[in-house]
């Protein structure tokens, strides 16, 4: 039985289709991510699982039960909000115990439970403080603790890491994964950050303009995107029209995808991999872990290449703009995407 299942769900606001005939199943215990740009319908889907919004058409089931007439307070689902939504007039302990308080659990018992939740999120001893006295990362953990105290079968997370700085965000990503393994429940996570989605999810569902573009594991999404949108949205990419590159020939109409890090760049004509095409470096950008080159190939294509930063060794010489270089790749690096419309814009996305 699926934890959550959407069947042809649409949500229409004043003639705008925020969610357009969406169907998916989330198995129990999965870390499922809804990924897409803002306004793509991912948050609306999450809010429909929570019960804050209802489907205009189609059906939503939670653990096999139709929830089309179930209010949020009658669902065994809890949410971690983007702004955390911690109640400012209650201390941390009362915030965490709120779900038990409204369920009528006596004070001593619910406070004990709240302390246990504080242990779980590794913040023991802050129960007496007000949310305003905590840092962003701490508030984040309190919001998670509060959402978990009712022992939900499904935890919904609405861009919970958006307000944190990069270091803390990476730390919380690891933390959330640990927590999910520990409590063993289904996590439905909404984000617009593709890196976050790739690093945490069991499966990713990519939204664009209210529709699902692709559902798959991070590996599938990154290596074998089904649409041009997915290829461009997740990671950096070179997209070429079918037949523009030497190597792969297909009679199908469509695009060829080649990730910049799968291309090797070398001077002249000596390289361990066969050189496929020669070109001139137009621009180079130093990005720390790698160096990004924009190369204009002989046949006029603009190709983005990521060269791993191996230091100033002779194995990976740096190239300055104007240098003639050879580009090479393995044919397995090429992935073809079927498309019905002509390519929107060439080169890197």
């Amino acid at each position: 039985m699926s934890a959550v299942s959407f069947r042809d769900v649409s949500r229409v606001y004043d003639s705008v289709r925020a969610v357009d005939r969406v169907s998916f199943n989330i198995p129990e215990g999965e870390f499922f991510t809804l990924l897409g740009p803002s306004g793509s319908g991912k948050t609306t889907c999450l809010r429909m699982i929570a019960g804050f919004e209802f489907a205009s058409s189609g059906s939503i089931a939670i653990h096999g039960q139709d929830v089309s007439a179930t209010p949020p307070f009658a669902r065994n689902v809890n949410t971690v909000f983007q702004d955390y939504a911690l109640f400012p007039h209650m201390n941390v302990r009362d915030n965490i115990a709120y779900g038990l308080m409204v369920a009528g659990v006596p004070k001593a018992a619910r406070h004990r439970e709240a302390e246990a939740m504080l242990e779980l999120v590794q913040l023991p001893g802050v129960g007496d403080r007000k949310p305003s006295q905590l840092s962003g990362g701490q508030r984040q953990r309190i919001a998670i603790a509060r959402a978990l105290i009712n022992k939900p079968k499904i935890l919904l997370l609405d861009e919970p890491l958006g307000a944190l700085d990069l270091k803390l965000r990476e730390q919380m990503q690891v933390e959330l994964k640990r927590l999910q393994r520990q409590v063993g429940i289904t996590f439905v996570f909404v984000t617009h950050d593709q890196q976050e989605a790739l690093s945490m999810s069991d499966r990713i569902c990519i939204f664009n303009r209210g529709r699902i573009e692709q559902i798959g594991s991070p590996d599938e999404i990154y290596e074998t995107p089904k649409t041009e949108f997915v290829a461009r949205f997740v990671g950096n990419v070179n997209l070429f029209e079918q037949g523009a590159l030497p190597g792969l020939m297909s009679t199908e109409r469509g695009l060829i995808m080649l990730r910049p890090e799968r291309i090797s760049i070398s001077a002249g004509h000596t390289s361990e991999r066969p050189q496929k095409i020669a070109g001139t470096v137009q621009d180079s950008e130093y990005l720390g872990a790698f160096i990004r080159y924009l190369v204009r190939a002989q046949n006029g294509l603009d190709i983005t290449v990521h060269q791993p930063n191996l230091g100033h060794s002779q194995h990976a010489p740096r190239f300055t703009p104007g240098t003639t270089v050879g580009l090479g790749w393995d044919d397995s690096a090429l992935h073809s995407i079927k498309t019905t419309k002509p390519i929107a814009e060439g080169g890197a996305g």
């Binding site: 949410t79 909000f81 109640f87 007039h89 709120y98 409204v102």
Partner: protein, 312 residues
Amino acid sequence: MNSAALTLSEPNRSSLSAWVYLHPRSVLLLLLIPPLLWLGVVYLGSLFNLLAYSVFGLDEFTGQITHELSLNNFIELTRAANLDVILRTTLMALMVTLGCVIIAFPIAYYMARYTKGKVRALFYLGIMLPLWSSYLVRVYAWKLILAKEGIIGWLAQTLHLDWLLQGILSLPVIGGPSLSFSPIGTFVVFVYIWLPFMILPIQAAIERIPRSFFEASMDLGASSWQTFRTVTLPLAIPGIAAGSIFTFSLTLGDYIIPGIIGNSTMYMGQVVYLQQGTAGNVPFAAAFSLVPIVVIGVYLALAKRMGAFDAL
């Protein structure tokens, strides 16, 4: 290169805007002097001057103020008739505040959570519009509405609810010959006149509560009533407190409404007005003026003690 460095290290201090930028405290002081003079000297000065009179006396033969210190005026305040006035006014102020909260809260709640754009502008207009017309006109309008022959009396008669109106009017203490000659009428008009001062702060307080708070509460299993009791109401308290300061203090000091609507019993504002104007007993009026200040001080202290300002 040289000239650029020169302009950077030596800004043009002679220009006014540079001076303003570099001396924020002096600018603040300049801006504050006129209002501080007004508030400190003209307003507070005359208030303290008035209060200072409360320890002087009045020569009963000449009607002249005698500049001899005495506490006679305060002893006079504790006479049964005066205590009666103080108690009645304070009770009325409390009741009016309570009535305003009960009527204002649903309106403010609806405005803050369910209206936007033009509809909300219409609400603002509806609430503020009465304030644009004369206070006296509105009070006299109410005298006509509440009169025996007024619309309420007519309506009661037409609907054969005469007995109900008579029953209410025959209540001891708050009843009277007609609504316009009873403390009930005074109460109704007070509530009407001060209502905007209660709606607006409550509306502002509820508006500040993020939508996610209501959603979080429901998400965690709270019913609508539990959400109201544990989230909405506590976070609206600062607004209620702010509004109640208006309604409470305005009722304590008002002398026009009880003069036009109600029976002949006196309220504090009327006593001060009569003593100062008709009787010319400024020292006693000054002593009486101190009472509302003390009552409001006590009121604020109690409100603070009950945590009304904790969520600010």
